[in-house]
Amino acid sequence: MSGNPKIVIKDVNLHFGKQHVLKNVTANIPEKKITVILGPSGCGKTTLLKTMNRLTDLYHNVKITGSIHIGNDDVLNTKKDITEIRRHMGLLSQRPYPLPMNIFNNVAYGLRISGRKSKKYLKPRVKHYLEMANLWEEVKDRLNDPASSLSIGQQQRLCLARGLSVDPDIILADEPTSALDPLSSEAIENKFIELKNQYTIVMVTHSLQQARRIADYVIFMYLGEIIEQGPAKEFFNNPKEDLTRKYIKGLFN
């Protein structure tokens, strides 16, 4: 285990109706590193990600047991307001979902709902976060345009800027490049590598190449179970499990 664990997941079981989606998942996610959750489709990686900020609450018939500690809070059993906890985690989803408002307000939204409303305060902040997401130069003259007028790649970067604006310390990313063209994907990947000095990044992907490129720590899942986890180098060069070896060789996908 390298670095301090930022997120400690212990014995998490998740049932979706009668379906057992996560089975005894236990993992430590290191601070200020890129952790990649890897695995074939339908193995529960996205579900695990959404369990971390309790987006699973939004769906019918979900039962979760176990604990996920972030700092001193057990996310799954906390008495704190869940919206407060979610604010510490930015989310990037498979395809960008900008809010139905203009570009400026998309980034300002998170700041506004946490009570900072003056234009004077918002303007430089919005600029700052758009710069962080490498989007400022492209949109600085059209901040009043609807977010939906941006290309998909730009929208995903806008969602990144929006996610960063609430000043999280964790970024959760659910296959954030799967809907993007290669250039936009690369931009996001490079951004992640830059951002890992300040943020703990957890990314779900099914792309082995992508995991090789950016992962510091890998969690490999198959059919709802964690098969193997460890530092990326070890994981790719010297896998311990048979299943991992097969997966890395591309024998199943």
Binding site: L58, R95, Y97, L99, I113, A147, S148, R162
Partner: protein
């Protein structure tokens, strides 16, 4: 070879069916408009729009239906506004707060659809019973309440129809920024469904201003301009009805003119709400 011939014939058949049905609808619409314009336009005058019925109005003498125009506008606007105030929060609540409780929400939808299907005369009768119970006389207020009741299902279900199609991803995005449920409702979902609200307002207003049965007992009729919520008020559908049942040709013509006015009001509302919605719709996330 034979197969492709059959498919061509099938194609031709369905295209024919579509063309015929479209023409039937178009023709019916044209016929309706034509008949009210042809018979109504000559009878339409400035006097009709601006004056209340004078003594001999129902025998073809001077006067107009300004009282009914104003009354109908009051009634429909009041009811639409009330239905909006109730309908928007309810439909947002159904889709945001009750998002997990699909069964409950579906039962509510079923209930609303049943309410949508109830004939307006039943609402009128219901409102009438209520009025008698509370000792009210027929009045603008009673009409507004009754009409509100019967357009609420229309309002809620039309907004709901749009809210259902808001993708889960947008909801997750909103929550993951730390929004509460009401922020998700009113700052995100509401913006996304403005087009639905416009359709809902249009449908509701159209039903409210055009319905005769629900206002027959509840709003009553008078030849005076409406000045108070507690007084009986004239409405356009009833104005059309009373004039149409007259044996005098001139009065009958005026009924068509009234129908033309009603149609123009609805046309005007349609255009205005389309303009408003397209202004706010530009921020909608397309999928």
């Amino acid at each position: 070879m034979k197969r492709s011939k059959l498919r061509n014939a099938e194609e031709l058949f369905f295209r024919g069916v579509m063309i015929i049905s479209t023409s039937v609808i178009g023709f019916a619409l044209f016929l309706i408009l034509w008949s009210i314009i042809k018979r109504g336009l000559p009878a339409l005058s400035w006097e009709m729009l601006t004056q209340t019925p004078k003594g001999g109005f129902y025998f073809g003498k001077e006067g107009g239906i300004a009282n009914a125009i104003v009354g109908s506008l009051y009634l429909a606007s009041g009811a639409t506004l009330l239905a909006m105030i109730i309908g928007i929060p309810v439909s947002l609540y159904m889709n945001v707060n009750l998002h997990k409780r699909k069964k409950l929400v579906n039962s509510i939808r079923f209930l609303l659809d049943v309410m949508w299907g109830i004939p307006s005369i039943v609402y009128g009768a219901f409102g009438f019973t209520f009025m008698i119970y509370f000792g009210m006389q027929s009045s603008l207020l009673a009409g507004i309440i009754t009409v509100t009741l019967f357009i609420i299902p229309i309002m809620i279900r039309s907004i709901d129809e749009v809210l259902v199609s808001v993708p889960n991803g947008l909801m997750e995005a909103s929550y993951s920024l730390g929004s509460t449920r009401s922020e998700t409702s009113y700052k995100v979902f509401f913006r996304q469904c403005i087009s639905g609200v416009t359709t809902a307002v249009l449908l509701s207003f159209g039903r409210a201003i055009g319905d005769a049965a629900s206002v027959l007992f509840t709003t009553g009729y008078t030849d005076h301009m409406p000045t108070s919520l507690s007084q009986p008020t004239a409405t356009l559908p009833l104005a059309i009805f009373f004039q149409m049942s007259s044996p005098i040709a001139e009065v009958k013509e005026r009924a068509y003119a009234s129908a033309l006015i009603l149609t123009l009001i609805i046309l005007f509302i349609s255009i205005v709400s389309r303009i408003i919605s397209s202004k706010y719709q530009k921020n909608k996330i397309k999928l």
